[in-house]
Amino acid sequence: MHRLIVLFCSLLVAGSALAGNAVSAASNNKDSHYASHYASHYADLAHAVYEDALLTARELHEAIERFLAAPSPRSQRAAQNAWVQARIPYQQSEVFRFSNPVVDDWEGQLNSWPLDEGLIDYVSDDYFYEMGNIGAQLNIIANPLIDLGGDQLDSRDISPELLASLHELGGSEANVATGYHAIEFLLWGQDLNGNGPGAGERPHTDYVIGNGCSNGHCERRRAYLRAAAELLVRDLESMVAQWAPDQSGNYRAQLAALPADAVLAKVVFSMGSLALGELSGERMKVALEANSTEDEHDCFSDNTHWSHYYNVLGLKNLYLGEYQRLDGRWMKGPSLAQRAAEQAPELHQQMLTALDASLAAVRQIVDAAEDRDTPVKFDQMIAEGNRGGALLIGAAINALVQQTATLEQLAQAIGVDPSLANRL
């Protein structure tokens, strides 16, 4: 009797385990040549988008050097514009983040947000910060030597290495000393308009040497901005190298050795993670529910609408295996779309419709934010009581949810198991 019961139980458990593996067992891709071709194009796309991010980061660095050489409202605006341009490829690259540890472990130094800006520079008197965060009020620019409860923090020489070492100081993720958003803060300053119109309004005189210097410590602020821009360029150089062809030991080489379906699983997993958890979750729904400008992605520059738009474009790129480079050239190659078109043409059509719907929905957010007469930026849309803003953001969220649901049906239909994405 005892023996019988044990047997019965183990059958039950085995049954449920089988059900759980049904998707991976249904995998039916036998064309390994096609698959390796696919992995190679996947890496080509990543390489191209990081290379474009690097090119625009170099242009940002140069624009910052010109701004520092002759600070003026005009040279400041030129540097700000270069920052906005640099976000275009970078936000399209983010779809490569979620199933490639080499990206996910690296990106914090480039794109962490929100940040306790009091770590970096002066802030307004009513600035609030993460309680108990020892870094939140350090103001590195004003304080070359800082006592950290016994440990001396020596930031007399502000270098890219120093900034990298300060990142997530004291273990707080809010201590963002580096990356796009640190540079954004240094170029724009705090957005003190809350949910009202207007972005940060840092005066260009914050970077003037000598008597014209506003808010003090201009030399150190200049050094900080320069070092942050240099570090961004270096970080992107290292990522480009990870995806470059014909380099033994880089990430691309590891990827080539993966089983075919693992790469397709990466596409599905990372598209779902960016669309759902990150973009519609953390970056839109949370900001909307919290009515909080602190939860706005590009909160100093009010460029959030474009950041979201290029995230969504990145999703479409990866599905179609396409990317339009900065110089206008199109890259096209083997893609999840091709496989879906062969094996699940109806779902493929639904997916194309869903991708276009997502892009159209986020385009509406862009149009509202860029309206010539009455622009409504993302931080205004999320304000309590802004029905129109909430509807625009809600529509984008719903479109991304629908897109992800379709993607998951499609993956199941063609035998791609997204749980294989994290094999590497």
Binding site: V13, S16, G277, E282, V286, N291, S292, E384, S419
Partner: protein, 461 residues
């Protein structure tokens, strides 16, 4: 204890036969190969498994999950601030986010592990007093209330800091093997007036949704307060206050099962650990003898609204379970036999079944938490001498065992038991006294290979 022999170990086949006979009043416990159905268990045992949504969640549900996650992870700030949804921290608090103590959703870290970290707090009550209001379950200390608050917002003073001292004890196995146990003694620094205190380590967030979905009736039915079945185990249900229903109900969450539902557990943690009010706990935590506390600004009434509180609770309820490991390994089977031989399964009841729940993937599931969620006398060694509702100073709720192996494999240095005194699973076992004394004796009688098999079994959970 179900005929647990001490000293000599019978052959495995004989043991199986013995178990069948001695446990004839209850069906034999199955050796599960997964902690729950595939809809709830993550495919892999990796570093972020405990932060993943259960596979059953639809895209729309995962969106709600990410909302709850944000309010679980991101820090709360002092009121007033422009972040109206996230302000209201304190005035007195222990941590500024849930994730500060439940790092990566795992268990808290002791002051010994992380001197300036989070993850262990001191529950307090007045010494010697046993008159408690039915809705409180404890007698709050007049100066400190029910919990030591080690941090405060600007303008308020923290109540105090905790101090600890390590005591050492030794246990000797029948085969001569010796184990040094350490026992931390906690106190509030720089004060003569020491309340009755009970240190509490933040538990890992494993399978809490399924535990929430067990019907009250199921808990009541498995209780055996007078040990009518004569197995030496008298599991008791803690009857605790349900603030929404305004009545006593079976408790299930917390080291002494002091909270009846996951929502109330989450609301209590917001209130007591972070100083954030909710519809369930609308008053700020300010002890009667701390007048400065009440005058400080509030972050709205309540500070976390019902929708966001529900989102955080549902987030915790919807986390994926880590899978069991090495389920085909014969050593696991052997360890499971040792587990039963020592009678562990009487309290660490392998299987549970859930009833209805508002999250449909949690309803009517069979799963394997290895707990009866009941109170048991655990002896003087573990006693905190602080009553909580129906639980006396020697009683503790049976801790679930699922996810133990995941923690050891992924989180590394983990501490066990309510005050984090045990540095490994064997130490945790050896502290079991009271009703579990005979189980501990059975383990002390095991030889090295049986002990190893037992620990190996636990590490597969």
């Amino acid at each position: 204890m179900a005929g647990a022999p001490s000293g000599r170990r019978p052959a495995t086949a004989l043991l199986a036969a013995l178990l069948t006979v001695s446990a004839c009043s209850k069906p034999p416990a199955p050796l599960a190969n997964a902690p729950a159905g595939a809809a709830l268990v993550h495919a892999q045992r990796q570093h972020n498994t405990l932060q993943q949504p259960a596979p059953a969640l639809s895209p729309q549900q995962r969106l709600d999950f990410s909302l709850g996650r944000s309010f679980f992870r991101n820090p709360w700030v002092t009121a007033p601030s422009t972040t109206t949804a996230r302000d209201g921290l304190g005035p007195l608090y222990n941590a500024n986010s849930c994730a500060a103590c439940h790092q990566d959703n795992g268990r808290g870290r002791t002051p010994e592990q992380a001197p300036r970290g989070h993850g262990l707090l001191l529950r307090l009550s007045a010494t010697g007093a046993n008159n408690t209001a039915p809705e409180l379950g404890i007698t709050p200390h007049p100066l400190y209330g029910g919990q030591l608050q080690i941090r405060a917002v600007p303008g308020a003073a923290a109540e105090g800091q905790l101090q600890w001292q390590q005591g050492l004890q030794e246990r000797v196995f029948a085969d001569g093997h010796r184990v040094q146990l350490q026992r931390p003694h906690y106190r509030i620094a720089n004060t003569e007036a020491q309340p009755q205190l009970s240190p509490r380590l933040a538990p890992p967030l494993i399978g809490l949704g399924l535990l929430d979905a067990i019907a009250d009736q199921t808990l009541l039915a498995s209780a055996d307060p007078d040990d009518r079945d004569g197995d030496g185990i008298s599991g008791r249900v803690n009857q605790v206050w349900d603030v929404q229903a305004q009545r006593l109900r079976p408790g299930r969450f917390g080291w002494k099962a002091g909270q009846p539902t996951l929502l109330q557990q989450v609301a209590a943690a917001f209130s007591e650990d972070m100083g954030i009010t909710s519809a369930l706990f609308p008053s700020p935590v300010c002890p009667a003898a701390n007048p400065q506390c009440r005058g400080l600004p509030q972050g709205g009434a309540p500070e976390i609204n019902a929708k966001l509180l529900g989102a955080v609770s549902d987030y915790v309820a919807s986390l994926a379970l880590p899978p069991f490991a090495n389920t085909d390994d014969p050593l696991r089977q052997r360890g499971w036999q040792q587990f039963q031989r020592a009678g562990c399964q009487h309290c660490h009841q392998p299987q549970q079944r859930s009833g209805p729940h508002h999250l449909p993937w949690l309803a009517n599931q069979t799963f394997y938490p290895f707990t009866d969620l009941l109170l048991h006398d655990m002896g003087e060694g573990l006693a905190d001498h602080r009553a909580e509702f129906g639980a006396n100073g020697r009683e503790w709720r049976t801790a679930p065992l699922w996810g133990l192996g995941w923690q050891l494999a992924v989180a590394g240095d983990s501490r066990f038991l309510h005050d984090g005194r045990a540095r490994n699973l064997l130490e945790a076992i050896l502290w079991h006294g009271g009703e579990a004394q005979s189980s501990t004796q059975a383990v002390l009688a095991m030889d090295a290979s049986d002990r190893d098999a037992l620990i190996y079994f636990l590490s597969t959970l």
